[in-house]
Structure formats: structure tokens, C-alpha cells
């Protein structure tokens, strides 16, 4: 079969070699060439001009692309990489701790993702997918932080419509006395939370007029604790 194919190929090769292609008179081709030279006379300068213009444009485009690549690289280091760390952190926490985290709650610091969740600091190393959970340490907030935290609590919706127990009517405790102000600091992120406790009396408490009054007796004093994120100027849920 192979031999027959080879013979066939040789046969057709020999046949093609024996075919004479059509020949044209040299004068005829010369006349076409002269026609072309006349066309060239008209078009040469236009074509070379366009070519040079295109080359300049190409150089400009190359510079443009190089600058774009540089800006893109910088941009990716500034924005894209932190974004990718946020996404990966949220995914890893979801996989390992079964908790859904919003991307805006992830803090990116020194190439790791940090999430403050339920009074704990979760540090995620994205490359090794390692998760570390650490507790906050107490600290003494500065006077400015105290003032800010109290102000945030007093103007918050949570203190104005405070509900101590489910089913109780809301009460405004925003003007009540401050019982204590304590600071919590998370060691890896450096994030600070301030806990502000306000005094309140439960709405279910009533003086019983039938009972003899006990001198010096006071209604029960309860405290409501609000955890304030000073950076975000909001109360943590």
C-alpha cells in the first residue's frame, strides 16, 4: 500500500515536472512594470509618510502600554492585593469556622487578614490558610477616647430606644449616669473597642405602696454595656 502511494506520488510529481507553465513576453511584463513605476511616483511619499507616522504611533503606544503596566502593577499592590486577601480571608473563615464575614469587616495588615468577631480577633494567614484566634487585652482608654465613646453612646439609637429584656417597653437611657468605661485592644490589628456602661432602672420595677417603706431603700441599679468602635463611630452589635 505504502509502495503504491509512493509510486503514485512519484508519478504525479513527474507529471507536474513535465508541465510547462505559461510564459509571457518580457516586453509585456516590462510595460506593466513601467505602469507600476508611475503609480510608485504618486504613492511613494504618501506611503513612507504613513509608515513613519505609524512607527511614531507604535512607539507612543509602547510607552503608553509600559506606563499602564507600571500603574497597573502599583495599583494592584495598593488595591487588588488587599482585596484578594479580604476575599481569601472571608473564604477561609467561612470554611474553617463556619462564619460568614462581610469583606468590609476584614482588616488587612502586613499581608494577613484580621477579623474582629464576637470579642475575638481572628488572624488568617492567606498563603498557609492558618487561622489563629486571640483574645483582646484590657487597657485604659485616654480621656479623649472616653469622651468620644460616651458621646457616641449617648447619641446612639441603641441607648435612646434601649430594651433590657424582650417584651419590655423601650426606654431612653442616653442621659443616664456612666458607670464605667473600659478599653479593649486586639493585639494583632491594634484595633480598640471601648465598653461604656450606663445605669438604668428596669421598666418593670414599681414601688409597692402597700409595703412599709424601708428607710434608705433604692430601686435596683442595673447597667447596660455598649461596645463602641471609635474608628467607625458606631456601636458594635
Amino acid at each position: 500500500m505504502r509502495r503504491k502511494n509512493k509510486e503514485d506520488t512519484e508519478k504525479i510529481e513527474n507529471m507536474l515536472r513535465s508541465v510547462k507553465p505559461p510564459e509571457l513576453a518580457d516586453e509585456e511584463i516590462e510595460s506593466y512594470k513601467e505602469d507600476f513605476n508611475r503609480v510608485l511616483l504618486e504613492k511613494f511619499s504618501d506611503i513612507t509618510l504613513q509608515r513613519d507616522r505609524r512607527r511614531v504611533l507604535r512607539v507612543k503606544l509602547a510607552y503608553g502600554l509600559a506606563i499602564f503596566a507600571l500603574v497597573f502593577t502599583l495599583f494592584s499592590f495598593m488595591y487588588v492585593k488587599p482585596y484578594l486577601i479580604r476575599v481569601a480571608t472571608a473564604r477561609i473563615i467561612n470554611e474553617q469556622l463556619r462564619v460568614n464575614i462581610a469583606l468590609k469587616d476584614v482588616i488587612v495588615k502586613d499581608g494577613v487578614g484580621i477579623v474582629i468577631y464576637n470579642y475575638q480577633e481572628v488572624v488568617v494567614n492567606v498563603s498557609s490558610e492558618k487561622v489563629e484566634v486571640s483574645q483582646p487585652i484590657e487597657y485604659e482608654p485616654s480621656d479623649k477616647e472616653r469622651e468620644q465613646a460616651i458621646e457616641i453612646v449617648r447619641s446612639s439609637k441603641e441607648s435612646k430606644d434601649f430594651v433590657a429584656k424582650e417584651g419590655e417597653a423601650p426606654q431612653d437611657i442616653s442621659k443616664n449616669d456612666v458607670v464605667s468605661v473600659e478599653g479593649l485592644m486586639f493585639p494583632n490589628s491594634g484595633k480598640k473597642l471601648v465598653e461604656v456602661s450606663l445605669a438604668y432602672t428596669p421598666t418593670s420595677y414599681h414601688y409597692d405602696l402597700r409595703l412599709p417603706s424601708i428607710p434608705g431603700s433604692q430601686p435596683p441599679l442595673m447597667t447596660a454595656k455598649f461596645t463602641v468602635d471609635i474608628e467607625k463611630e458606631e456601636i458594635q452589635p
Binding site: 503514485d8 506520488t9 504525479i12 510529481e13 507529471m15 507536474l16 515536472r17 513535465s18 508541465v19 510547462k20 507553465p21 505559461p22 509571457l24 518580457d26 509585456e28 511584463i29 506593466y32 512594470k33 505602469d35 507600476f36 513605476n37 503609480v39 510608485l40 511616483l41 504613492k43 511613494f44 511619499s45 506611503i47 513612507t48 504613513q50 509608515r51 512607527r55
Partner: protein, 176 residues
Amino acid sequence: MDEKELIQKALKDRESFSEIVSLYYKEIFKYIYRRTLDKELSKDLTQEIFLRALKYLPSYKGKSPFVFWLLRIATNVINDHYRKEINENTFLKTTSNTYLNEQDSPEDQIDYEFIHKCMSKLSLREQAVITLIFFEHKNIKDATFIIGKTANATRRLYYRALIDLKKEMKKKCNNF
């Protein structure tokens, strides 16, 4: 002045480019004519080839002989032309007018027109490789430069072209 110097000069100087045209016009025209068998079309396509060569002259790096570079442009220009014709559906109309009648008896006259008619049924690359090797007397290595494929791919294309050509000739004449 050697070819390289002439090409460098031709980038800016019309006279030098005319000299290049003088050197290669005939060879390119003949190649086009063997592919098309149409003088007016060959004239137009040759003009387009040299204008394209002028436009892209800075991209010629001298890795192959200049004439191969021109033949490569020529092959692309012919392919573009036929593709355009196929798209516009005029290809069959023009070829059927140009070539021999089906009733002619090719066994007595294996002439170029008959071969050309059979070749027109092959792919454009197959047509190019057959024309270059048998009618432009180039070898596989030269055809590789001109067609712009690897040596093995060109060899495979060449043998496939021969087989396809044989089939086409068989359809028209039982001697093959």
C-alpha cells in the same frame, strides 16, 4: 551596492525602491500569473504586493533572501484575494469562465490550464506549495520560508497537496 544596502536606502529613496522593483517585478508577476492565469489581475496584485512591501519594508529582517519575503507577501495577497472572492461568491463564476471546458480530453493535453483548473479545488496553501515547488522551482526549504510554516508542516502540506491534486485529476480524467 548589495541587496541589504539597497533595501536600507529604499526606505526613504524612491529611486532605490524602483531598483528593487526592477530586480524582482518579473519573478513576482510570473508567480502571480501562474496562480491566477489572469493578466489584469496579476498586474493589480503585483502592484499591491510592491506597495505592501514598501509599507512593511522596515519589518524585513534579512533572515531569508529578499525575494522569498516578496513571495511570502505575494502568497498572502493572492490568498486574501481569493478569500475575498469566496466571501463575495464570485470565485466560482470567474474560474468557470477562465478555464477549460469539462469536455476537453485532458489525457492528451496535460497542460498548465488543466492543472490550474484542478489546483483551484485545493486549499490556497496547497495551491501555493505546488506552484512554488513545480513552477517556481523552489525546494521544500524555500517554500517553508515563503509559506511561513515549519519544514515538517510544509512537507506534510506538500504531500497532502499532491494527493488532493491526484483526486481532483481523477475526477476529470480516469487515467490518474
